[in-house]
Homo-oligomer: 382 residues x 3
């Protein structure tokens, strides 16, 4: 009885997805879809299929019915139905059925192949706000042509302009260097020197990709000055990452340094270090975390990941995200698996009388909705 | 049937709490209590309450009935009832209902606000033995006035005097430095040099707080010479900790160096590194561990933590502790949640015939009682 | 119903044990058996017994009936029955009942006390292929007498000869140094210099045991040149290991360097870092892993370990191994506990309709059988 009520409350909860990317604009073939159902950037070997994985099983189990197929179709049948409906209809169905009410779209990765903020708003019928990726702004500044000595000020101006309507910032220092960076703010002289070397390298190689730790620290601290919540990729990601250097515990000194500035730090994903993130969220008032991404990729096992996220952190410090990028299956599953994980965790607690039903519903609403609205100061939506 | 028998055996088991601190002497207001229900030392932000956390829910679920309230009262109702009963009665009820039979009280942190050994014995009606914190003894020596050259010998004499009746020692090297210290014993010359610098700093700043790694190693090795079991804070703790430097695996070389001395090393708390501690307890005969502290702060999720503690380590190498400090809710929950976790872990094993009921009861008694009595050579109690 | 079908399919699945050692040749006394039921190399202290551990309980629960005893006998009764049957019959019964169909025997550790490849084939009645330990080949070369300047070429020749019929290689760089080694291939000059120092040390000490990181890297890269799959001990092991230096994530750069060579890397054991291994297996096409060893030592808790192994990695990238060495109880339990863990993980997924029954059976067959046959190019067996 109380489980039914909890299930109903979770099913109806309008979610704020506080870290997500655009859905795919066009149809995709099987090889393309498989590559977007893994964090690997290597081709899927011919002796295997990414459909034989937790996320591949989850797509076939939970997304197929939304597209009008029975559960567990063969991959080819699934692809065929996807083509039949067309990308726009696939997006429309899977986004609508996700129950995500408000998207905070991180726009710094991927171009024409995914939907932008306005397009996501149209495809989903829901409000979309923007999260700006710090490193992308710096790379845009470099591409626009700038002298090293002018780079610090030009970056700050560009960031200010670029974030007039943004609700948050994002850092991928974990990808580009690791969390074992010097936690102090670099001086403008250090930044100028590093910028000189980097701009010369950009000119020489024709590639604009920042990985210099001084520059990465510079954009992070500029983000702190900007005053918006800063999302940090943490934990699990693609093979560029050295995962042991993405343990959020390595941020401890940086977190301490940021605290006096009153800026919130949002640790994203965190798997398999989500218990560590829960510790940081308990002891530092300005640290928050989610277990997005990992939830999708662990499929039926995501109930364990969600449950593990409900340990040390006060419930006001945990958020929901899908971290979906591309296939709307990822947006849909992010929401579905989080609801499922919360239900599986809390139902026995409520059933045994150890948690109160109303409190469980309130906790779900905090994590799925209220905390994000408070931290990002959101308007619109439910 | 066998689950009922197991539940009954666990409920009646007289526990030895091998690492615990004094209960709170006086009444406490809501802000004060919330700050003692987190390892954070930062004020709880106004937009949240620590009652909305696993431990906050656990207090309201399990402690409220001991104070004569229905389960799940509102925080204000709980605080009001607490005030009505008064600190002494709150202590008396929650300590008695914990079923803790014998307290090993670590006395190195906190002063007049918590009960000392004799007072805890009176409040609980149970025997209390003392664990002496090594760093506190050193800081007392510094405060008493000592020349650097005399410090090594004076510390050893003071430690001997201070531990005449103690059953164990405690080190907080994890807090003050991390486990990545040089595992070798420092020479007295090194210690004298470090002591000179430290005493000068104490004089200059007026603050006596040891964090020099040479001095921390000196007190540790002096503890080894003293021959009592040494408890080491490991894993989860307050924001002073750099948690990744508190992984007990970083102690591996120190553990090897200590083995010939025949001194037992007791790894405390260990969350989220408790599986690592289980490994050390399997391979090193003189290493033991518990999952106290983390059990309290994970509330209903502590069953997972307790279960994870029952993997690699032989059952003779696991102990029970609450690590409670201050609110007697923590003493109470430490015991209650450990019993609950053991029952939830073992009941299905016994139910399926994979474990024998009598063996399960014996294992619970080893972990909750016998192992501590053997390691610390306890008398008195059950 | 579907659970019964799944249980039956798992029970009948002919396993390929892709990393295992020989069974014990002779009878063993209680002290000897206890020492082989732990990764510790220290004597079991007199105040405890290794039978009071997860693996000790598992032996008495599951192996006793295979030897004709009721479940949960006292240790002495178990030892007595073992002696009564004799080592050959104990081996025969426990190996046969394991349902292991094909053994890939790692022959680099232990001599006359355990069975060799031919003997294991006779004792089990099943095909046995060989995995050659790289470091043992190097140590054999040193023992045979070789000048430093000749060592690189002599090692390559010996490895080629030694692996004519082998199906894979094994590295214990985790034991001898750690995974934090320079991931680049050493030059022959570096190798010759390191060999000079090592051979002199061997001569001086009379002990031939390689731990020099240049030589360890040399044999690893020679293994890559040999072109067979390379197994790497990762995670949990004996007290020689510094476990935090055996986290497979520390191999990330080496893994990247190996990828162009087309050689598969098999991460063995991995506990408690098996989630990290799952990440590597998802993002790198040539990385595979198993959770052997840890499964045995966690007994009834191994269902959690097996479930945790079913998260990020595609199902084509996970394998089964027992890592048994010596007592055939370990071979038996490795298989039994893996089947049990797979059933406990998948039965609720199938029961809820979240996984399809046929797919679950197929996944079990991939992990337990097909993946190993494909990676190692096996013939014979089921």
């Amino acid at each position: 009885m109380s489980t039914d009520a909890l299930a109903a409350a979770l099913a109806e909860l309008p979610l704020v997805d506080h870290h997500v990317h655009g859905a795919l604009r066009d149809d995709v073939d099987r090889a393309g879809l498989e590559l977007m159902l893994t964090e690997s950037d290597r081709p899927v070997p011919p002796w295997m299929t990414q459909f034989d994985s937790q996320i591949g099983f989850a797509v076939r189990r939970w997304c197929a019915p939304v597209l009008g197929l029975p559960a567990h179709p063969a991959p080819e049948a699934y692809l065929s139905r996807r083509r039949e409906l067309g990308a726009a209809e696939v997006n429309r169905r899977l986004l609508a059925a996700s129950g995500i009410d408000h998207y905070l779209l991180e726009t710094g990765y991927g171009g024409a192949e995914i939907l932008g903020t306005d397009e996501m708003a149209r495809a989903s019928g829901r409000p979309v706000d923007e999260i700006v990726r710090l490193e992308s702004v710096l790379e845009d500044v470099a591409r626009s042509g700038v002298a090293a000595a002018d780079l610090p000020e030009r970056f700050r101006e560009t960031l200010a302009a670029r974030t007039v309507d943004a609700v948050g910032l994002k850092s991928i220092v974990a990808y580009r260097f690791g969390f074992d960076f010097d936690p102090a703010r670099p001086s403008d002289d250090e930044v100028t020197a590093a910028a000189g070397a980097w701009l010369a390298e950009c000119a020489r190689t024709g590639t604009v990709r920042v990985s210099d730790p001084v520059l990465l620290r510079f954009v992070l601290w500029s983000g702190v000055d900007r005053g918006l919540p800063i999302q940090l990729h943490a934990g699990y990601g693609d093979p560029d990452v050295e995962l042991h250097r993405c343990d959020p515990l390595l941020l401890t000194r940086f977190i301490r340094n940021v605290q006096p500035h009153g800026v919130d730090l949002m640790l994203l994903h965190c798997y398999p270090f989500h218990r560590n993130a829960g510790y940081l969220a308990q002891v530092f008032p300005h640290v928050f975390f989610d277990v997005g991404l990992g939830v999708n990729y662990t499929g039926v096992r995501s109930d364990a990941v969600v449950a593990e996220s409900l340990e040390l952190a006060p419930f006001a410090k945990i958020l929901f995200s899908s971290d979906a990028w591309g296939p709307p299956e990822l947006h849909h599953l992010g929401a579905l698996l989080w609801r499922r994980g919360m239900l599986r965790a809390m139902a026995p607690w409520v059933g045994s009388g150890e948690w109160d039903l109303d409190e469980a519903v309130r906790v779900a609403r905090m994590i799925g909705h209220d905390n994000a609205r408070r931290v990002y100061g959101l308007e619109g939506g439910a």
